[in-house]
Symmetry: C2
Subunit: 717 residues, 2 copies
Amino acid sequence: MASSSSLTLSQAILARAISHHGSNSSSDRPRRRVHSTRPVRASAVETLDKTTETSLVEKSVNTIRFLAIDAVEKANSGHPGLPMGCAPMGHILYDEVMRYNPKNPYWFNRDRFVLSAGHGCMLQYALLHLAGYDSVLEEDLKSFRQWGSRTPGHPENFETPGIEVTTGPLGQGIANAVGLALAEKHLAARYNKPDSEIVDHYTYCILGDGCQMEGIANEACSLAGHWGLGKLIAFYDDNHISIDGDTDIAFTESVDKRFEGLGWHIIWVKNGNTGYDEIRAAIKEAKAVTDKPTLIKVTTTIGYGSPNKSNSYSVHGSALGAKEVDATRKNLGWPFEPFHVPEDVKQHWSRHTPEGAALEAEWSAKFAEYEKKYSEEAAELKSIISGELPAGWEKALPTYTPESPADATRNLSQQNLNALAKVLPGLLGGSADLASSNMTLLKMFGDFQKDTPEERNVRFGVREHGMGAICNGIALHSPGLIPYCATFFVFTDYMRGAMRISALCEAGVIYVMTHDSIGLGEDGPTHQPIEHLASFRAMPNTLMLRPADGNETAGAYKVAVLNRKRPSILALSRQKLPQLPGTSIEGVEKGGYTISDNSSGNKPDVILIGTGSELEIAAKAAEELRKEGKAVRVVSFVSWELFEEQSDSYKESVLPASVTARVSIEAGSTFGWHKIVGSGGKAIGIDHFGASAPAPKIYQEFGITAEAVVAAAKSLL
Amino acid sequence: MASSSSLTLSQAILARAISHHGSNSSSDRPRRRVHSTRPVRASAVETLDKTTETSLVEKSVNTIRFLAIDAVEKANSGHPGLPMGCAPMGHILYDEVMRYNPKNPYWFNRDRFVLSAGHGCMLQYALLHLAGYDSVLEEDLKSFRQWGSRTPGHPENFETPGIEVTTGPLGQGIANAVGLALAEKHLAARYNKPDSEIVDHYTYCILGDGCQMEGIANEACSLAGHWGLGKLIAFYDDNHISIDGDTDIAFTESVDKRFEGLGWHIIWVKNGNTGYDEIRAAIKEAKAVTDKPTLIKVTTTIGYGSPNKSNSYSVHGSALGAKEVDATRKNLGWPFEPFHVPEDVKQHWSRHTPEGAALEAEWSAKFAEYEKKYSEEAAELKSIISGELPAGWEKALPTYTPESPADATRNLSQQNLNALAKVLPGLLGGSADLASSNMTLLKMFGDFQKDTPEERNVRFGVREHGMGAICNGIALHSPGLIPYCATFFVFTDYMRGAMRISALCEAGVIYVMTHDSIGLGEDGPTHQPIEHLASFRAMPNTLMLRPADGNETAGAYKVAVLNRKRPSILALSRQKLPQLPGTSIEGVEKGGYTISDNSSGNKPDVILIGTGSELEIAAKAAEELRKEGKAVRVVSFVSWELFEEQSDSYKESVLPASVTARVSIEAGSTFGWHKIVGSGGKAIGIDHFGASAPAPKIYQEFGITAEAVVAAAKSLL
């Protein structure tokens, strides 16, 4: 296909929309060179029809292969095998199928691409480079995997514009892709009009054998099938090799049958190495199936082109070595210097810059029309696209007085969610089959389902890991989408992989984690978090919030909504808690603050520090001590990270260095608390597993009581 | 079937081995009362043939139902729905099919049963009670979910003899069951002789919709299919209800097709509520399929028998309430007081005590014969059964001198694993597709595979969560089985759910976690652990070990092998580390110890504390400071938990309270270190995500250097 930069805008769009199959394309598949069995080591490029077009495609594909080979070679680190095997599908996607604007990687209506097998990132860097993204210039390819480069060892959206999500830990990417496709389906259902499909893009993904083995991938793909995400098209790079060798040693299931069971449409491209038309036909077929996601199993040869290393694990994760690079150059007929992009290939790809600009301009014009007709919807959609929160949204946060009824923070959380859903058009989410326990239902909305995708309650089923990663995908789809998800706090253990990626990739997911301590009672130690607060306080770029009552829960939501570049985890109680005097939204925003004090001159005799359900206990202990004439300050330490970010003078005003008599109380591990209470203080907590019994009994038996706080305080005075 | 206690021993065994199908049993299934569609709410017990036998079965089944109903009602907490629906399959398993000795729950050759849907634990407690286990007496049923009871809210092997594993967090149990079945297949292959099948039992499991949705279940079941675990028989309680309501809202995949893809044999029992013969026939068929695990999908009605709550989520997780209990009693024709076991039911089950004793005695006699003929194998198997380690095993641990070559601790780990495999017959394990990176291959053994189950290298594929839970199952199969498993340390995030269960259920799994810091270099922040050391130090009953060199790696293995009741996590380096003077196995056993010191009178000017790859940096900094005349102690803090367990005087000898000038260095989060360095000390670490670059560059840029330690020390002097 020659450059189409001279086509009219609408022609260009049309040409791309129907996909570039060439004049002899056909939906019959496979057309030629079909291997009836998995291809074995390819020792030479297979003969192709020598039309200009195909030879240029092949040249482009080899350019991609060698950019990957050369970058890995220069870094002496990286994964050349996948890019060499997946270059054909990569080429077709970025050159013939996908709609994007390289000069604005954040154009809202772009097709999304996710490389779930993130170790093969040189594939995507090479494609971004050819497509004209400014984020991946030749110098970036040459500094692959080096300090400060824009081409890190795995794809990272926060480093490289054009990368949608952060992958590498296997299975995350395909789950992110499900989230991206969910977001598209949801926004399309909410905002498209019969006369204007203002939201309309595909989500593509490449995943490998490793991703397929991960449980998270099965979870997310089961949901994708359930939701009928017809615009999700995943390419399974079926190369039969993983790090330990042939997948026969650990992975002999029928992926096709499994995906059929999951409700996907399945297509098998038997020759992914050179079967360009097969790949094209598969994509066409996938697009025609609108009620199911499609898995295109593309059988490839890992390290295709390398005469001695292809089809073996040795080409997966290390540089080929100078000798084998030479042999591969000879084998694929590649006479060029490292990092060379042949002029005709460069010329061919250059059309994407004007085309992409035209695509965006066309869409912008369409949006202007839309805005005229549907001003309310347009304003909402704009705020979702831009991430600008509606003015005054925070006024919707509920407030409480000490006279407000005692309640569990999980219930108070639901009041906040329901209040916020009215003012935040991008708020949507749900629970991993615990909606009625996590209290996460938005009462004014129905369920996001296959046939009701405009609704905002998402039913994730018992799939915590998939849920977290899907929310990462939703969050990264559009800055104004604010996904929340929920389970019992202890089951963060199931989804920690996704939660860490939230933190790393700057996805402001809100994690609504209820049943946050032994306070859940009878379910026992399997369900009682102990070390979880500590484990998230240690996690970078993560806000761990443990509100004590209504005002603090509202404060936690204010913080969570405002922090769009880091996840917030709300630890919430199952049990009822009183509305405490002195708590406030503003206090929560500072992370730690004084809720009551009878000292003067910033010199209390003792400081009692609590979080969440134990702040009440600290307050009770303070009353006791004050009765005995002590000057006692009670500090709520709702978020360590926020407190750490305050000025030294503020910190000194809450925790004066001169006051070493400090007692903390929290129904969880004491790990980490010694930094707060200091060498002279005492940390009351639980450094062992929980127990099955009614909650008050466990609190008593474990010594999480006001008496214990009083005793500890007295021992320090 | 009447009591068979009068049968001869071998008759009894035979009778049980062929399973009790009654005189009219048949392998044709289903025979009668087949529902062509999923049964809807059952408003009354369906009519059964009124033979004595079946009526007694039904009475027993209703006993199980009401023990569950009554216990949940008394506790006003728990999950009656599953026991009411699964009572028929539970009855058939424990009364007709399984081989066990209630008076010795630890009899080696017993059939194993796992309730993966652990919330339904009253099912199992009722069965153990009827079967005659001393661990579940009537008083235990009456103290369900109470403080100190043996009937906690979810099944816990460490609380209740007769419970094999700890379940509740969904999906763990089926993965444990895969581990139990793997252990049986492995030991059978190693120790059975043509004339003596000394290892020969089944593993049964009940899992629900929740388990089926969890990724971990798919991971483990994919492996079970790959390994052809023919003696694993799983019952899928297909009741179409989960906490959020009908599974239609989130779970519409075809489980049958998925499991077919995973290589399982599938049977559907359409009437699990009263189709006793269907259930029996299914088990018979499952046993006949020896090369595949079997999934018996049993369609049941959750809360069967409750006229107003069955087939709804309301019966899943809370007491029925007095009114509905009454209605259920009427509906099922149950005139008895709460907790009543009718005399004929009691009498019927009473045979299991003599029968179980006979089964064990028969096996013991067989083992005595075996021992005579195969003394070497018998001795090995005995040590696996008893958990007694072979005398002098620790002499196999390699030792190193400062002159030994520098090496990565992952390589030193492999030396230990290979040395130990020779002396520890129960050591087996592997990696999640990173064997060549984790360095976990046992060189003298082949792969545990379907047709080579006697081998000891287990290939888990990229399935971290399943791997951990499978290892829990292996560890809990026999005290002398010592499973290890491996991945990159950062991917503990994927398997933390299983690792926490290791800690809780007292499974001494060895977690070989390599690439333990930014020292892995170019793979970047997705692969670089930061908060992971802290997160495991906070986890109860878990040994987090980070050895610095060869002697410390050997020490870590010594500790790991000796600690059979808690998991050990070894954090190991990718990069080479020198063999340091002063390190020792004995030192590691104390958790923290001095490796060098030029002070006297236990009064160093400053104490430098390091772990793993940073101990070298601390040692270098000490040299610098000593050159300047300072008295410097270097402490290796390889395991916080072990140090915490030492005497106060030992702790004082290492970290004297009077010395507040302390500097710690670790390439990870500083979270928690302030307890060790105190308010007067400094903790050097990394409180943000990593970066993609060569490792030395990252160390330099992040300030994890000897210069930084020297500067910090000087600032304190």
